[in-house]
Point group: C2
Amino acid sequence: MKLLEDAIINQGEVLSGEVLKVGSFLNQQLDVKLLRAISKEIYEHFKDKQVNKVLTIEASGIALAVLVAEEFGAKAVFAKKSKTANVSGEVYKADCFSYTHKNLNTLVVPKEYLVKEDCVLILDDFLAHGEAVNACINIVKESGATLAGIAIAIEKGFQGAGDELRKKGLDLFSLVIVDEMEKGKIVFRNR
Amino acid sequence: MKLLEDAIINQGEVLSGEVLKVGSFLNQQLDVKLLRAISKEIYEHFKDKQVNKVLTIEASGIALAVLVAEEFGAKAVFAKKSKTANVSGEVYKADCFSYTHKNLNTLVVPKEYLVKEDCVLILDDFLAHGEAVNACINIVKESGATLAGIAIAIEKGFQGAGDELRKKGLDLFSLVIVDEMEKGKIVFRNR
């Protein structure tokens, strides 16, 4: 998606540790016009599936999830990150290691918000090592719901998780795939 | 707002410790149609002000903030919660005690996302003791931006922070004010 590639080039920042900082438009500060344009592309890709739930992870996935959910007339649900696996109540849980923060989180979704009749689109701002998305896939499986696919704003292609998901036959739709990233130089796939 | 009052009565849950659980429609699971209706009411109230930034707090304020920002053609910005006051970089910081989690957070917003030319609407899902909103007010003051007002989905009127803000002459717009809350009984102001 050219709009998003341009925003990354003009406003993104490559930090050490393979971190791409997009806080000025995609997380923390939200360029809602750009997010709406992204949402419409995601809807176009998945519109033939009967998506009624968009599942994301707090906090940076929420903004896009709510706009995408609106396109589908669906509800959005976000998994909360818990520092301990010691979560009570009727919940789905899945472990998820954060490479950014170097800690293990447990993603938690109350069972009442995801049921087997649901058709779920998993969505996140970034796909890097795939930990968060794979945890969401496990939660959807456990719920018995149908997995429509996975939508990602920025896939870090060089970290491999996206291609792994595609090999498994999952419908992964990334608006932008970054194949190389060095200070001052970002290479997009298929540009 | 009758729609929101009805959702609270039909789907809300009063828990111990004066907690009103609205996870099934306002946070964690997001009823986007209801959130859009709330956004339009907030826009109606503040439409004469030149709001170009909607400031909220992660994670539960983000969904509503992004929809309200879209109504204004504004950007949304969320304050991140940091466990330590030891935050580096050019940021605004304000302490904020969480009565729900019984801990002190520092709210952090990078200075580049809030400048003195901005006209800011502060927004949150709940107003209870006012800690988070007052921290946001301090951040807006420090930035030199204009404060358009404060929009809240659910104000817990019996905890007093809303009336304190009104006494200060601030334009506080709450969609719903809960004046009493006991197991099985919720009393709304001006219903």
